[in-house]
């Protein structure tokens, strides 16, 4: 089987991830930060080690500013719904995933104004267009780091500079880049970084979080939920410090044990190395697909300008049929349709038909890329 759906979730997972999860459930199993006994403290250590690993990966100085949650969607909701108020203006791009677009549309109905800066059909965003959209009431720029449809990288650092220049917060959705492309929250000037554990970080589903920078006013940040934190139990008000402000209820400790192991595994290999390997595979795939006359490939068509996510269509065959036949006849798993991102498909001109998406990951090989190209050639001939 060839698994080319890593943009949805990475698979398989590195063996240490599986071991860490199993070990956590069978050997530790207590609630972190709730009781003072040895097992509870051990569970707390697992969670803290996961914070340290994530902070190291993204060059965040303070592990306690890594707030864990279920996934990047929750993290982005926390950043957007937690910080934007009626009367605020927010700038975003036209290739956002619905995890950003839907919370923004809901906020818009409650009095937050929204500017969607148009990207090019390849998914490129002009930083100057972002700057031109800044108004006196602008509070935040919310950006995808790389499109989940065409893989296009957005100029986060350039926009970060603009955001600092106008005293705005920059929120970045790193769903498609965390673990696959170098991210440094300090030099990229990212104030709010949403990450998910189960994609290129190679951890389990049900893990993710938000890194909250020092420019964010915690007194203004409304958590998505309030409840037990194991701290300040004598008070009926939510603690105002991180991570407890944003982490109510028992965390997914086995998941975070797995995430910690995954990030350590990534750090040992180095994100730069993973990126180099994936860009080589991406270019082979791009070249091979473009050589098929009836295949249209979307996006930058340049491995330096994108992550290992590639969208294409076969002329004369619906993307859903391509996906089904790749699965049934060629044993290739991929994702077809709109990829939860109608805005991106409108931008690249494939709405509402959608595309076939190949999402490569750490475990894919040159042989798999060759087999997939042969399969698409066969389908193109039969279309």
């Amino acid at each position: 089987m060839i698994y080319f759906d890593n943009a949805a979730t990475s698979w398989p997972k590195p063996p240490p991830v599986v071991e860490a999860i199993t070990n956590c459930i069978s050997e530790v199993g207590a609630n972190p930060g709730r009781s003072g006994h040895r097992l509870s403290i051990e569970a707390g250590r697992i969670v803290y080690a996961a914070r340290e690993a994530v902070a190291e990966l993204f060059a965040a100085r303070d592990p306690l500013r890594v707030v864990f949650g279920q996934n990047v969607t929750e993290a982005l909701n926390l950043a957007l719904r937690g910080l934007l108020r009626p009367g605020d203006h927010v700038i975003t791009s036209s290739i956002e995933h619905n995890s950003v677009m839907r919370p923004l549309r809901a906020l818009e109905r409650r009095g937050v104004s929204l500017t969607i800066v148009q990207c090019s059909p390849e998914g490129f965003l002009d930083p100057a267009a972002v700057e031109a959209a800044v108004r006196p009431d602008t509070g935040m720029v919310a950006l995808n780091h790389a499109s989940n449809v065409v893989g296009t990288l957005l100029p986060v650092r350039e926009v970060g500079q603009i955001a600092r220049g106008h005293d705005l917060l920059l929120m970045v959705d790193a769903a498609q880049t965390g673990g696959a492309y170098p991210i440094d929250v300090e030099s990229d000037m990212i104030d709010l970084l949403g990450f998910t554990g189960h994609k290129s970080l190679c951890g389990p589903m049900g893990t993710g979080g938000l890194i909250i920078g020092e420019r964010v006013d915690l007194a203004r940040l409304e958590p998505l939920k309030r409840g037990g934190t194991g701290s300040r139990s004598e008070y009926e008000e939510q603690p105002g410090f991180l991570p407890d402000l944003c982490e109510s209820g028992t965390l997914n400790v086995p998941g975070l044990a797995g995430l910690r192991a995954a990030v350590r595994w990534l750090l040992e290999r180095g994100v730069e190395g993973i990126r180099a390997r994936e860009t080589a595979l991406t270019q082979s795939l791009l070249n091979g697909l473009q050589a098929i006359s009836t295949v249209t490939v979307y996006g930058p068509l340049d491995n330096e300008l994108q992550v290992a996510t590639i969208s294409f269509n076969v002329s004369g065959m619906e993307c859903s049929e391509v996906g089904l036949r790749l699965d049934e006849e060629h044993d290739i798993m991929c994702r077809v349709g709109l990829h939860c991102s109608p805005a991106a498909h409108r931008t690249i001109g494939t709405f509402p038909a959608g595309t076939v998406r190949f999402g490569l990951g750490s475990f894919n090989t040159v042989e798999e890329v060759d087999l997939a190209l042969a399969a698409v050639r066969t389908l193109a001939e039969e279309a």
């Binding site: 009781s35 509870s40 803290y48 306690l64 701290s231 139990s233 603690p239 410090f241 407890d244």
Partner: protein, 75 residues
């Protein structure tokens, strides 16, 4: 043999306690995470127990490392 005299470093959360533990270990101050004694706080979390003689070096080490400390009290 007499029981050693202890002090406890109280912090805001278990995460802070784990951070304090790391700092103290790094500078070689013997410590142990224990449940917060009820007479010190009604909080349900943990605190860091140290030897009373280490109270001042611990305070300095934690301050230097930027660990937020609620207080250091004798047990």
């Amino acid at each position: 043999m007499t029981r050693p005299e202890y002090a406890v470093v109280t912090v805001y959360s278990t995460s802070h306690a784990l951070r304090a533990e790391k700092v103290l270990q790094r500078v070689g101050i013997t410590n142990k995470l224990i449940p917060v004694p009820r007479r010190i706080s009604s909080d349900c979390g943990v605190c860091v127990r140290i030897l009373q003689v280490d109270a001042e070096p611990a305070r300095r080490a934690l301050e230097a490392a930027g660990v937020e400390v609620e207080g250091i009290q004798s047990l």
